[in-house]
Symmetry: C2
Subunit: 477 residues, 2 copies
């Protein structure tokens, strides 16, 4: 399929996005509305995301666990804001083993409530705290408008849940995990996210404060790419999670939760992809380099293949490399691997064999400029170094793109024009009604109040009231 040209992004971004996913075989539509099948190329990418995060979680003394899929419906109703936030989105099991259930069970939309229930049993003393858990699992939210990876009825994610004996520790950890997400997004996914606080109206149902990392996509819309919530004592009170403090007082625990999902794959597609297809950051690419044999006849083939075998073996120790030995033309293979976003293509033909060289072609630099002759002798080091360069160039380009499309309008009129097609970074009063008015008038929402603030104060871009903080406004996925 991948020999077909994609619809250019400039023509129809959304169509381009779906075509990339289908042709790079990342995913496919499932028979149930809004659900998806993640195909091997997409799942291998998710596995690399998992590993990159899991390593960071373990370094932060977080332990993995598994909590059940099915939650008594009454649990969801225990925390007032939580139930309001999630009720419209629930999938409910009412029949089990052929019988109508006494109490309906909810397919988890998130696990705060079941964690709360178990923690009430497990946490007795300050010595049981902190408790730091992470769950890799699937959740279901009955979304009306769905899109592959970005918003699906079922999605894969990790949800971290921690309990602490003090508010300060809990909120510090909320920020710590946001920093883990930022570090992962910037350094592994090559996505220059903006870490910040969510506004009151955008925060998680049941949180005291929500934090987010926000990224700019190729169409200049924002994607919320990971969130970290300080839940205060809200869930501890709803589920009676109490511990005996060092001073022998019975206190409610302070809890947090934080999550990042397969939505990140949508972000990677939209931040880096181009009209030739996917462009994967080397650190996450399941295949980092693909070797394409070039030959016209059997005589040439017999020269080329043994050299390729040897090069592959050398490379395999440090690079995730694949040889494409399919019976297709080199041109077909070039297009196919470009579509699939493999960062580095290595071409080996009979002339290369004679000269002891190979051709490197960078996925991120089109045409002649991205090509170079590399001596076979130093191929491992050259490939490693090319991948490092590609990784940092992807980040550099995405950062430049974001910065070129982030403006600081000085008036509301200017603001309205900016958010049509850019991020607006503006003083904002923080008022819920003011935010609602802006959304109504422009379709732009507060993406976050960045952690990094200029200091001082200003006038709200919309209502003119005094503003203490700068916020990012944009249209969003």
């Amino acid at each position: 399929m991948s020999e077909l040209k994609l619809t250019p992004r400039s023509e129809d971004y959304s169509k381009w996005y779906n075509q990339v996913i289908m042709r790079a075989q990342l995913a496919d539509y499932a028979p149930v509305r809004g659900c998806m099948v993640i195909r091997p190329s997409g799942y291998a990418l998710w596995e690399n995301i998992q590993q990159a995060l899991d390593r960071r979680f373990k370094a932060a003394a977080v332990e993995n666990a598994y909590f059940p899929l099915l939650i008594p419906k009454s649990f969801l109703e225990k925390e007032k804001e939580h139930v309001e936030g999630f009720s419209p989105e629930l999938a409910v099991v009412t029949i089990g083993g052929g019988e109508v259930l006494d109490e309906p069970l909810v397919v988890r939309p998130t696990s705060e409530t079941i964690l709360g229930h178990m923690w009430a049993n497990w946490i007795k003393s300050y010595r049981d705290l902190p408790m730091r858990l992470n769950l890799w699992n699937n959740v279901v939210r009955w979304e009306l408008r769905t899109r592959l990876f970005l918003r699906t009825l079922e999605f894969l994610w990790q949800e971290g849940h921690c309990a602490y004996s003090s508010a300060a520790e809990a909120e510090a950890e909320t920020i710590q995990m946001l920093n883990v997400y930022t570090d992962f997004a910037v350094n592994d996914a090559a996505i220059p996210v903006i870490p910040g606080r969510k506004s009151e109206s955008e925060k998680f149902a049941g949180a005291v404060r929500s934090y987010t990392i926000e990224a700019m996509m190729g169409d200049k819309k924002a994607l919320q790419s990971g969130t970290s919530h300080f839940l205060g004592q809200n869930f501890a009170k709803a589920f009676d999670i109490k511990f005996l403090s060092k001073d022998n007082q019975l206190e409610h625990a302070w809890t947090t939760s934080w999550g990042l999902s397969t939505r990140m794959i949508g972000g990677i597609i939209m931040v880096h992809g181009d009209d030739q297809g996917l462009k994967l950051p080397p650190k996450l690419a399941p295949i980092q380099a693909v070797i394409i044999p070039i030959f016209k006849n059997d005589a040439e083939k017999s020269k080329v293949i043994p050299v390729i075998d040897q090069l592959r073996q050398q490379l395999a120790e440090t690079v995730r490399v694949k040889v494409d030995d399919r019976e297709e033309t080199p041109g077909f293979k070039f297009n196919d691997w470009e579509m699939r976003g493999v960062p580095l293509r290595i071409e080996v033909g009979p002339k290369d064999v004679e000269k002891g060289t190979v051709v490197f072609a960078r996925r991120d630099v089109p045409g002649r400029e991205g090509k170079s002759f590399v001596p076979q002798a130093g191929i491992v080091e050259a490939a490693r170094s090319a991948l490092v360069t590609i990784q940092s160039d992807l980040l550099k380009r995405a950062t430049e793109f974001r910065d070129a499309h982030t403006h600081e309008p000085k008036s509301y009129a200017e603001f309205k024009a900016v958010v049509e097609d850019s991020f607006a970074r503006v003083w904002w009063c923080g008022d819920r009604q003011c935010e609602a008015d802006i959304k109504e008038e422009t379709k732009a929402t507060t993406r976050c109040i960045p952690l990094e603030q200029p200091g001082g104060s200003g006038m709200c871009v919309h209502c003119g009231k005094p503003a203490q903080e700068v916020a990012i406004f944009a249209k969003a996925y």
Copy 2:
């Protein structure tokens, strides 16, 4: 909790089993009947099982993917035997987003049907075959009698699904994956399983032939620990999975499926555990060695701790090691880590520091006999070698136990006595009614018809008819 003594296995095996799980904190009961929470110690063990299998799957050219949780109910009804097998066990979502659904959705009990649906789209030509997929996911089966790890409403597993262009290839792969399970069970879990074929009445709903690995637990009951099914063209016909063959003929594909679940953790507990608790095989143990500092006062502590720091660092490169620096007595710690099944305990006290030694204590060899003095200088090699010995001794002991409790009764009277408390290895006619009668009369079922057969023929132990094969009968979980 773990300082409390367990109920001895000889007194109440089932109680012992549950206590081990709770006290070693492998899992806990969830609020929904029959569901469980897998706690970090249990989940880390599962992660190691996953890695050990995943490595083998990838070596067999199987790719991971993800298929949706929710399946249209009508899909389950397409394959006649499949629907009969699974209908009584389904959890059904009837409400989504507050509305009653037009078509109820089933929470997957297994994914043959949804694979079938997608494959019908993806598989067009012999060039698309073989297709080898594996899914790591959760499934729900509405079981009436449940038991932690062994049989839960929801469980974690992997389900492999492959499609081939010929029956021979498909059945060869069914056996190949059974061999993967056997290799994993024997060499990583130290469980001497018996690979074999399931009888007609015990096979998977929808399979032509089912294969299994069967293990003997500490109470001499059998545990089906992994299964591999040759599905023939049953699902291909039900879902219209057709491909154009090399000869340009439209043919139905031949499919297989194979699965191994968190049930394996129950097997590990019951094969190796003793009255002191869990006994983990080193290859799968999340913590392979625990270092316990021994000191009576601060002066001794200040001698011991720096040495331990250094030893931990050296060991960490090749051994999964943990230092227990909790403020508890050494005696408490010894019991606690015995309960949790850590294979090797390393004690370091002031005298050890003076002599440049440490004490090794093997979990699998109780008392003085399992203890040895080891020079600090060679600790890494000594630990590695001790773990190898423990691994192979666990397998040896489990094999001896199984063989000592596997008999070949010559009469049905003898058979009845044997299956009370052992495995019976007997000539069996293969008749469905004969099998049903034996089950009715003894509660023993055919566990498998071992792949390894003595050859020749005999007389059925029950009905006396001619028998071509030997089968294993036992009571089972």
